[in-house]
């Protein structure tokens, strides 16, 4: 066997292994999601615990997958959409496990996080190419790396914030009428909810830096720091909506339900930035002349 054949078969073998591991992790996220969902339907705490344990296992396996991918590519593992979807699922799940480590019996937000993690992994596996390829010259920039790391970190944080927000909105009417089965009591609900706000506070500077470093990178690579590309514009919308949320929190009239809704809208905008930049155009039947290459 020539050294080339050896290299190619080694890389093919590693990729095959990576893909099997990635599918198994996706399955674990799916299983965890189902357990969270059954926990909600059946109000059985033990199912919630099982769901969390499954999620811990998938995050451990996913960490190994990310290390493997870094080794395969010889570079940071979040530079193609296939990689960044995987990174997104991992970082959101990890952030959730970290943030929720103190709530012993509260599991509901996990259902949102795991369905997103599973969805992101399935999208990567079914629709994107897993090839490890040399990076295109414009992507070889420190600004780009920091841009992706921080933007994704903020995404992970916003996912968890939105899942807490949605849980809060769902559970609040159930206080005194069964919310206890999910680990909630009236005296800790607001404390739980304040985490959603704290997470946005934590994520907002990260998103700000994500956008700033993206502009700095564009300025360095193409000389134009902003070109109103749909992806850029969506990131600005997300940023504006979270700024709106933080302001709403400072105004008594808006700090309750309106702020909660704005937080969830911010999360939807974030998902649009990440994935669906031209869904709206398609929905309205507007032709998109501007094709964004990911």
């Amino acid at each position: 066997m020539s050294s080339y054949d050896l290299i190619l078969s080694r890389d093919s073998y590693l990729l095959a292994f990576e893909l099997r591991l990635f599918w198994s992790i996706t399955f674990l996220y799916g299983l965890s999601f189902l357990l969270f969902a059954f926990h909600i339907l059946s109000r059985t705490p033990v199912l919630g615990k099982a769901a969390r344990t499954t999620l811990i296992l998938s995050v451990i396996a996913h960490t190994a997958l990310i290390v493997l991918r870094t080794f395969e590519g010889g570079r940071a593992p979040f530079q193609t959409l296939y990689e960044s979807l995987s990174w997104f699922a991992w970082s959101a799940s990890l952030t959730f496990l970290y943030v929720s480590r103190k709530w012993k019996d509260i599991h509901i937000p996990g259902v949102f996080v795991t369905v997103l993690a599973m969805g992101a992994c399935l999208y990567a596996l079914l629709s994107r190419s897993p090839a490890v390829e040399p990076l295109a010259p414009p992507l070889q920039s420190y600004w780009f790396e920091w841009h992706v790391i921080l933007a994704f970190f903020s995404y992970a944080v916003f996912v968890v914030s939105a899942s807490i927000e949605a849980t809060y909105l769902g559970v609040k009417p159930l206080i005194g009428r069964g919310a206890e089965a999910y680990g909630f009591s009236s005296d800790m609900l607001e404390d739980f909810h304040s985490m959603a706000f704290k997470l946005v506070l934590f994520g907002f500077p990260l998103l700000t830096f994500g956008i700033f470093s993206g502009a700095a990178w564009a300025n360095e690579a193409w000389g134009r720091y902003w070109s109103w590309d749909p992806k850029e514009t969506w990131s600005l919308i997300t940023w504006t909506v979270f700024a709106l949320y933080l302001h709403a929190k400072a105004i008594p009239r808006f700090k309750g339900l309106p702020a909660s809704v704005i937080n969830i809208v911010g999360f939807i905008c974030m998902m649009m930035t990440f994935l669906g930049v031209n869904w709206l155009a398609k929905l309205l039947g507007v032709p998109s002349l501007h094709i964004y290459a990911v």
Binding site: A16, W23, L126, A131, K198, P205, T233, I251, G285
Partner: protein
Amino acid sequence: MRYNSFTEKLKNYFTGLGDRHAGSRRFLCWSYKQLSSITTSVYLLGLMALFFMVGTIFPQGGSIDDYIKEGGGFVFFVKLFGLLDFFSSPLFLILAFIFFLNLAICTYERLLVLQESPTFPKSYEPTHILMLAPDFSNAHSELRNAFAKLKFKVVSKDDDWTVVEKGLPYKWLTWLYHLGIILCFLGFILTYLFSFEGTITLKPREAQTLVPDTTGRIQSLWKDKTGQTDFHLKLDSFHTEYAEAPELDFPKDKLSRLAIGLGWKSPDYEMKGESLTAKDWRAKIKVIKGSGTLAEQTVEINEPLEYGNYTFYLLGFEQNFRLSVEDNPILLEAKEDEDIFIPGLGDSIKFGTFRSGTLYKLDGTIEMLKPYTIVKHTGKDTDEELGRIEPGAIMEIDGVNIKLVEVEESAILSYRYDPGVGILWWGGILVLVAMALRFYGSWYRIAYQVTDTASIELNIMTRGLGSSSTKIIKSLEKHLPITKQS
């Protein structure tokens, strides 16, 4: 909050003008009041988000004819509001301007508030109550010492309540990053008014003058005054780096992908055809004037050259092939991947990308490529590869001898003039630093009083994710004999 200082001045000014201006006075004062309110900024931020959304729905930069041809709807509105160039349309600019005013006025008014010395309430609602050991005396001074040890400073004191503070002045930090956003806005405005860009193709070893064919929106008012630059650019050398990139044989359909996940199939990397991808391009550029060199830099993607008021970016390269047919001294010229009709051949051929430079091989070795290009027969659907040719070599195609005499590689640079970037940088850095300190740092304001029943009532206010009232209570416990807390 006091958002009135400027309104007062306005009022006085208009009062001086007499009753004739009473309507304008009232309108201006009302507008100023609205624009100094955070509630207005909530509405404006919402509107801005909606306007941005419009710009993501309609393809920006396209022509209305293309838009209609592609079957785009809402044509009436698209034309009316300039939706295809929305971010330069009056509608958007007006909203952005109002928002800018809102931000500027708020920041100004807040500065006035911050400069005033703070006022403190007479009494506080306790958030924590700490019980002290019964035999403990002198609680007042011990408590003062404890706070001093924890680096708190007394900011207010009356008979009952003492107020102490510690940490980063969060209100100033909030103010500072709003100021940073104003600076960014100013950067955007400068860019919008003054920036322009274009491309220039530099042929090897030929000095070229930059003659911008566009100008910024403002300069276009006296367009004839912006002429060519007084320096020349010269491309000294051009170098490309390639990497060998195997292709992945990977199915597109979902079931086969699942089969790979289950281990029933395997993905395969293979070397097909050339299997080369460009890793990097480098152009050594000189800026010259007369016989002197003013600047010299190797420009790469992500490493532009800054000279004068311009920044030059390496966009890519252009290749020109010169060939002779059957030793004919008149040379034919062609560009990369462009059809050339060869007399006597009755058919056209084309040259692929000319490869020269360094090759990073898959096995980790590096070698210099022997320059070559691939000649192809142009087909209706696909091109047929005829083989490799090196500069100076002759290839016989259907009995016709074709010699590749020379290949010339030019660098395509884009140049840009943008006086907004500098201020945007400073604004951005200010926003980031102040925001990070405000959000991740910590600030405490604690009001306390010692009651007759040997307990301490505390009102703890915190800002920033680094702060925690539990941490403070724990620290107090270290210095004081606290028996119980609620």
